[in-house]
């Protein structure tokens, strides 16, 4: 009996000691060689989606470069100048929101619901401020005569900056959903994938903005 007990014990020990290789979790478990997950399949899908989004914006930026570098005078005559200063301050708000969502994500990882809700709320507020200032700028620019059809300059500006604003709006809606779920206590230390993917998308949208700001407003 003692020997059976020992044998069983050693078997269990061998299984436990078998090192696990890092990999992706989700879906059917692999038949052999269990893996330690380094990320979720949803997480990987978001990463690939963000790659596609980056290429979409690269296409728009490529078109802008053709017109911008090819133009002898930029902005074209009789077209209003873009508000560089106000947008610069607005950029600071958006960059700050990338930091606040990281703090929120840290709170989710630690299972701190209060920190998560508080910092998600602050992120949403900063995003909303960014959009509001952008909207105000657009109204001013339209009043000054810069429209989509006024010139190539206007068309490029509204296409490039408009698509980014649309992405920020989409990210903000997603953030509000995550915020509402977080308030209901939907997330925990072991379950925060929704926060993580939302944070990835938000960080992408924020990281894209300095490149657009530099190209459209400063160059």
């Amino acid at each position: 009996m003692a020997q059976t007990s020992i044998a069983k014990r050693l078997d269990e020990t061998l299984v436990e000691l078998e090192p696990k290789r890092p990999g992706f979790s989700g879906g059917e478990p692999p038949p052999v060689s269990p893996q330690t997950p380094i990320g979720n399949n949803v997480w990987l899908a978001i990463l690939v989606f963000l790659g596609a989004e980056a290429m979409f914006f690269a296409g728009l930026m490529g078109a802008y470069i053709v017109f911008r570098v090819g133009a002898a005078v930029w902005p074209p005559p009789f077209q209003p100048r873009l508000p560089v200063g106000v947008t610069g301050v607005n950029t600071v708000f958006l960059l700050a929101s990338a930091a606040t969502i990281r703090v929120a994500l840290r709170g989710a990882r630690r299972g701190d619901g209060t920190q998560l809700v508080r910092w998600l709320g602050l992120t949403a507020l900063l995003g909303a401020i960014f959009l509001a200032v952008q909207g105000y700028e657009w109204i001013e620019l339209i009043q000054f005569g810069l429209t989509v059809s006024s010139s190539v300059y206007g068309g490029l500006f509204y296409t490039l900056i408009g698509f980014h604003a649309l992405h920020v709006f989409g990210a903000l809606v997603w953030l509000m959903v995550v915020f509402a779920l977080a308030r209901r206590g939907h997330y925990s230390k072991d379950r925060y994938l929704g926060v993580q993917t939302c944070a990835m998308y938000w960080t992408f949208v924020v990281a894209l903005w300095p490149a657009l700001y530099g190209l459209v407003y400063l160059y």
Partner: protein, 96 residues
């Protein structure tokens, strides 16, 4: 025979095009001068669009590699700190 004639004609046409490069130009911006802003703009745009996929795929691959290394380091650390005590059986389990 027909194939040989077609091949010969294509070869001669190719050589003739090489002798008259202006006619052979398939590039929409190559007709402009060396310092023309339009060709310069297209060149910069093409360079940017060429570099972007490498940057995007490289960033994703780099991030995955970073996560893999971090997970592997954590696994090794957990494995190293695992207590060897469970290898021994207690008197109670041995039945003595």
């Amino acid at each position: 025979m027909l194939k040989r004639n077609t091949l010969l004609t294509s070869l001669l046409a190719g050589l003739a095009a090489g002798l008259v490069p202006a006619l052979a130009s398939a590039c929409s911006v190559c007709v402009t001068g060396d310092n023309d802003p339009t060709s310069n703009a297209f060149n910069w745009s093409v360079l940017f669009l060429m570099a972007t996929p490498y940057a995007v795929v490289g960033s994703i691959a780099g991030w995955l590699f970073f996560k893999y290394r971090r997970a592997a380091a954590k696994r090794d650390q957990d494995h190293a700190t695992e207590s060897p005590l469970h290898l021994a059986w207690s008197e109670k389990e041995s039945g003595r």
